[in-house]
Amino acid sequence: MAIFEAILELADDHLVLGHRISEWCGHAPMLEEDLAMPNMALDLIGTSRTLYDHAGKLEGKGQSEDDLAYLRGEREYRNCLLVERPNEDFAHTMLRSLYFAAFMRPYWLKTLEMTNDETVRGVAGKAEKEMAYHIRHAGEWVIRLGDGTEESAARMRDAVAALHIYTDELFESSPAAAEAERAGVLPVRADLRAAWDEVIGQVFAEAFLEAPEVPYPQTGGRKGLHGEGLGHLLAEMQSVYRAHPGATW
């Protein structure tokens, strides 16, 4: 059961971030980004699908990927707070992706080395490459905006101030995740700090940004204690599915 929950946490992270990024589709600052955003959303949602499917099988109660995605409410979602933060502007959106991908890339690389779960290994092999690309795409934008115009630099600093407080949660393992780590399924989150710091440090140096001290990190997502935005996100996402119980789409 703990491993089911730990996989669900990962799946929720990917679906919720994919959903947020998909909100940009058709509204991006330039056509090239209107193509890039759905690509990144597709990577994340694709990963979430395999993880939900796997979680459902581990649980053994016959829950499909859609049951898990569409029939749980905000208190049952287990994503970290970073991924549910609203898009705000392009600076916030790119920084949020950078923070997440800079964590997930070493996470999946480590998974490839250690996991004893073949499905998780398969996900890691694919997702590691995608996260490398997300780091590159989002990182280049953080640099362009941080070292662009006065306005873009100010917006980038605002984004750092708004989002950095959510990054500590990435390195925390819930009791379920800790059990999956002990069982050799998932890597230890706290061990990935150095790899994350290195990527963020490099990008921030080129972007003229500073990582702030965070005396009071915001956490709670793994316990289902979310911000107010997640309920709206889920209400929208689940509306059609819930309006037609049992229907096939």
Partner: protein
């Protein structure tokens, strides 16, 4: 969509008869015209207008379908819809690039879209009200677009014809995907079937209007036919579309909302009821239900993104200066 691209097109030229004859000879020999070739100004203008309107249609077309990405009722449908909307954006990008080979910039075309000077397919000025609309759009709207665009793969202008080959492959995939969505609904619960029928009722007439006015009322077709920009008339394409679509609707158990639709043994095709051309022209002229919202959304995306584009340029300039200083 392309038929609408020709509405108001001005194909007039001032070149000498000798030049026009030589150009026509190349067209008649089925030679492809390339961007650096000499071409009548009217030919260039007609293509810029048509390709630009086609590109704008793809870009504006991302909005009605994008409206359902966040609510798609399964993760599989969500992923497929994201990929589809991304394809439409990609079509827009190739098409803007094809138009740019004729000496007009993407920025210029974007400004013309935002100011209302350039048009886009009137179909996208209707709202997507339920999930079934996503299936019906794939089936009918992309289906109609394919009928229009397959002949464009043989268009005399090389870059447009080549872009259309890839676009048609993707559109044909979209159409099958849309049909599969509708089939799932038609075989689903009574509510799902009703949702599919309602969407068909709303999209049928706008879809057959996509082929443009009847041939007798289409002013600019002759020159475009002669230049092989256009290869079939509006009515020919509309007929092909209807003949292909009616059996598909029958298979699904859905009713096409045209009481006058009936098989005509003599012409081996369907006769259809009267198209409401008042509605068509009203929507083409910018009075469709979603016209204001579509342009408002596109302008908002552009205006809100201005600081991002400026920052990217400023950063590129800084890099260039630093690189020069270091050398």
């Amino acid at each position: 969509m392309y038929s609408q691209g020709l509405i108001g097109a001005d194909g007039s030229t001032t070149e000498t008869q000798e030049f026009l004859d030589a150009f026509q000879k190349r067209i008649d020999a089925e030679e492809k015209i390339e961007p650096t070739d000499a071409m009548p100004e009217g030919y260039r203008r007609t293509l810029v207008r048509q390709i630009g309107q086609h590109a704008h249609s793809e870009i504006v077309g991302m909005l009605p379908e994008g409206n359902w990405i966040t609510r798609a009722p399964s993760l599989r449908r969500k992923a497929a819809l994201l990929a589809k909307v991304q394809d439409e954006g990609g079509h827009g990008l190739y098409l803007y690039s094809a138009a740019e080979t004729l000496g007009v910039s993407r920025e210029q075309m974007t400004e013309e879209l935002h100011s209302g000077k350039a048009k886009y397919s009137s179909i996208f000025n209707y709202p997507t009200l339920t999930w079934a609309d996503i299936g019906i759009i794939g089936w009918l709207v992309d289906g109609a677009a394919i009928m229009n665009q397959i002949p464009l793969c043989r268009c005399s202008f090389g870059p447009y014809a080549r872009a259309m080959i890839r676009v048609c492959k993707e559109e044909s995939f979209h159409q099958r995907q849309g049909y599969e969505i509708v089939m799932t609904l038609a075989q689903g619960t009574p509510e799902q079937k009703a949702m599919a029928q309602d969407a068909l009722n709303r999209w049928w007439w706008p879809s057959i209007m996509m082929f443009g006015p009847h041939d007798a009322d289409s002013q600019h077709s002759d020159q475009s036919m002669a230049w092989k920009i256009k290869r079939f008339s509006n009515d020919e394409l509309r007929q092909k579309f209807i003949d292909a679509t009616v059996p598909q609707a029958e298979y699904l158990g859905l009713t096409i909302p045209d009481p006058d639709l009936k098989w005509n043994e003599e012409k081996q095709g369907y006769d259809h009821g009267r198209i409401d051309w008042d509605e068509f022209w009203r929507v083409v002229k910018g009075h469709g239900p979603m016209a204001r919202d579509r342009i408002k959304d596109r302008k908002a995306a552009w205006d809100n993104g201005a600081w991002v584009r400026e920052a990217a340029l400023a950063h590129a300039e800084k890099r260039r200066t630093r690189k020069m200083a270091a050398e």
